[in-house]
């Protein structure tokens, strides 16, 4: 069960990182990007 939880957490992190490397989120709404993902 903990393995599945960790896998899910990793998947969400990968999605977040993929979103962070783009200019925009999906279609027309952009939530605030976490500070640790920002490219300054």
């Amino acid at each position: 069960m903990k393995k599945m939880t960790k896998l899910f957490a990793v998947a969400l992190t990968v999605v977040a990182a993929a979103m962070a490397s783009s200019a925009c989120f999906w279609f027309m709404h952009q939530p605030e990007e976490p500070a640790c993902l920002r490219e300054e």
């Binding site: 957490a9 969400l12 999906w26 939530p31």
Partner: protein
Amino acid sequence: MEKFSKAVAAKLADELEYDNDKREVMAYGAFALTQMLISVGLVMIFGFIFHVVIEALIITFTASILRKYSGGVHASSPNTCTFLGIVVCVGFALLIKLVLAPWIGIYKFLIFGVVLFTWSFYTVNKLAPVDTPNKPIRSEAKRNRMRKGSFTVMGIYSLFVFINLLIYLYFDWDAFFVYSICLTFGLFWQVFTLTRIGHLVIERLDLILHNI
């Protein structure tokens, strides 16, 4: 949607004993995934109801893939975003399939397409990437990368339209002509959201929906 994503991330972070940074990243990822699934799901449902699933999905993915690189105007909430997305994608898919495609013909479409693609390349060159206060683009390197990505994606779209038209001409499959128009329209819509007029239109619609 945001509350749900934060709740999922909080539960995961508690179970795995992650810090606040990781919790925020997971919430961001959960939100992305949830919004994508709901948006695409609803476009598919409404597309199915109006018999324009493929056309609506073409417009959705054309606009959103380019949007990853070019940015553009944003709705103020995920619900407004989803609603506008459905109206634009399904609405225009219907308009294209029932009205535009039977009327326009290949020659008019070729002229229209060339003009539109030229305008799109010019506008993207001038304005992209368009960022937002929630996701500012501060590094010049990222800005250049996004611009380059926008041109690459638009180049690929040009190729897809060309291939679709060849299939239509060679096999006489009308559907591919409709797909070409949908692809062109998806590109047009996304580039339109980069412009000042696009910003005004979306902000006005956002205000109206917010007040309903």
